[in-house]
């Protein structure tokens, strides 16, 4: 594990550099344990890391680094599998034909591959309600679009690299849009204001069939 300062009131603890469900589970457990401390103002799990913002009146980088190492050495508590969300998708995104051409796959095959796994919510972040889901089947892996779109409609189901996700709000975006869903990801009048939480599981299904 590598712990580095993020300025004078935060630090980043990097557990690993691999996209790995077990590492992500440890990161989420570590963030939850840190959040309970009085000297921690916020702890966010990344894919394989924890970003900690602390109260500089109560903690230093050294005291918190020691606490993180102690907590990380403990066996993480047995966690329940995350909630399972089933998400209907119309696989008619503007990029599905281009994706099929580049990967030499039919539309039906893309749908089958994309809707087969139960994905994990590795991380909720970036913009309100966005969740990084994965890992995507290897057959679907493509780099991001060379030129990002300036506006992606909310509800767009997208993929890039080993990841897939749903745009919760109309934002710019560089992922390949393969479908859309009517399920609302960002719920501004609920608390927490998002459908997915880190550690949840997501299964897509084709709404047309």
């Amino acid at each position: 594990m590598r712990i580095s300062p993020l300025g004078d009131t935060a630090l980043l603890a990097e557990l690993s550099t691999r996209l790995d469900t077990a590492v992500n589970t440890r990161a989420i457990a570590l963030a939850a344990a840190l959040k309970k401390r009085r000297d921690v103002r916020q702890a966010i799990a990344g894919y394989a890391s924890v970003t900690v913002q602390f109260d500089p009146e109560l903690a230093t980088h050294d005291s918190l680094s020691a606490a993180i190492k102690r907590l990380a050495a403990k066996r993480p508590p047995m966690t329940e599998p995350g909630r399972l969300h089933r998400i209907p998708v119309n696989y008619d995104g503007p990029d599905i034909a281009a994706v099929g051409e580049r990967l030499q796959l039919t539309r039906e095959k893309i749908i089958e591959l994309h809707s087969r796994p139960i994905y994990r919510v590795f991380l909720v972040g970036f913009v309100p309600g966005w969740a990084y889901l994965g890992p995507l089947p290897k057959e679907l892996v493509l780099p991001r679009r060379a030129v990002p779109r300036t506006l992606v409609p909310a509800g767009s189901v997208a993929m890039a690299g080993r990841q897939t996700g749903i745009y919760p709000l109309p934002t710019p975006g560089g992922w390949h849009l393969i479908g859309r869903t009517s399920v609302k990801l960002f719920l501004p009048d609920s608390d927490p204001p998002c459908l997915f939480r880190a550690g949840d599981r997501v299964k897509f299904f084709s709404a047309q069939s």
Binding site: R2, P5, T9, G46, Y47, V127, L169, P188
Partner: protein, 314 residues
């Protein structure tokens, strides 16, 4: 009688802000809050408020406000040449507005963001624990939007301390806004720059780019290339200096995205964020490499300056 202020005009962008919603970050919602936390907190303390109450953050130009009842206000941060009924008044100083008094601003003299506090705090929509305006989500503050002409601003409650006019924050206790040196601590991924790149990062003069706002500033300067594998996305903080593949750094500010995967090569320290908040597109800046210990000394100096206002209210 609940004091109210009528918004005659708003300036370029005036939003309600407080110290943000750090708790909502795990849902991907930006922490937000005042860009210049020092000026926001000082304005509050000058009128006897807790530093966390809502103020108005005014960007580039000031609003025109008319008091309908007597209220105690303070202005801090950028200097937009404040006037009451046309006569100049001092910023960083508490003052009473009487019924019918008109607060206007003659024009920007320096800085980018000015804060107006009122004794008792401004009333606003609370969303996920904060009154800050989140423009992306359209929540918090005034219906999730900037103020507009015709809005009526109500005071939320009683001030914590009795109001006194003429309380002032001495100039030597304020941040050195005129010195555009942003102090920064080495970031977790600084080693992804080669030794020349690392040296340039902390020596070059950067210019704040045009696409710069409350989310972050694009810094224009020498192109620096970070090497290595793509990083897995991780949680970000205000002040982080990201290095995307374009080689032009991005300085994350109050409304920054909560997570990202670009290397973070440096982090601007908390004591320099108020200075960063007062920069405009086109302004030049330098990143100065300091230790965490030095950053903590700087932070304590600013916290101590705010503490003198708290004591002064007794």
């Amino acid at each position: 009688m609940i004091p109210t202020l009528l918004v005659e005009s708003t300036g370029v962008l005036t939003t309600v802000q407080d110290l943000g919603r750090l708790n909502a970050v795990s849902a991907g919602v930006q922490a937000g809050g005042a860009m210049d936390r020092f000026a926001h907190s000082a304005a509050n303390l000058l009128v006897g408020n807790d530093p966390g109450l809502a103020t108005l953050e005014c960007t580039l130009t000031g609003p025109a406000l008319v008091a309908e009842h007597t209220c105690l206000i303070a202005i801090a941060g950028a200097d937009f040449d404040p006037r009451v009924n046309g006569a100049p008044v001092s910023p960083w100083t508490s003052l009473f507005l009487g019924p019918g008094d008109r607060l206007t601003f003659a024009g920007r003299r320096n800085g980018a963001r000015m804060y107006i506090a009122v004794a008792g705090g401004f009333e606003a929509d609370r969303w996920l624990g904060s009154l800050s305006t989140n423009l992306l989500a359209g929540r918090g503050g005034r219906e999730g939007r900037p103020l507009k002409a015709g809005d009526t601003l109500r005071v939320a409650g009683e001030a914590r301390k009795p109001g006194v006019a003429g309380r002032r924050m001495p100039e030597q206790l304020r941040p050195e806004y005129g010195d555009h040196t942003l102090h920064a601590v080495a970031g977790p991924h600084l080693k992804r720059l080669d030794p020349d790149g690392r040296r340039l990062l902390f020596q070059a003069t950067y210019r704040v780019g045009r696409d710069s706002d409350r989310m972050g500033y694009r810094l224009e300067g020498p192109q620096l290339i970070a090497t290595g594998d793509e990083l897995l996305s991780f949680g970000l903080v205000a002040g982080a200096v990201q290095m995307p593949s374009s080689g032009q750094p991005i300085l994350l500010m109050a409304d920054h995205q909560t997570a990202g995967g670009y290397p973070v090569v440096a982090t601007v320290v908390s004591a320099s964020l108020p200075i960063a908040a007062q920069l405009l597109p086109g302004d030049e800046l330098r990143l100065a490499d300091i230790t965490v210990e030095r950053a903590q000394t700087m932070r304590r100096a600013l916290a101590g300056a705010l503490e003198t206002l708290r004591e002064g209210a007794r």
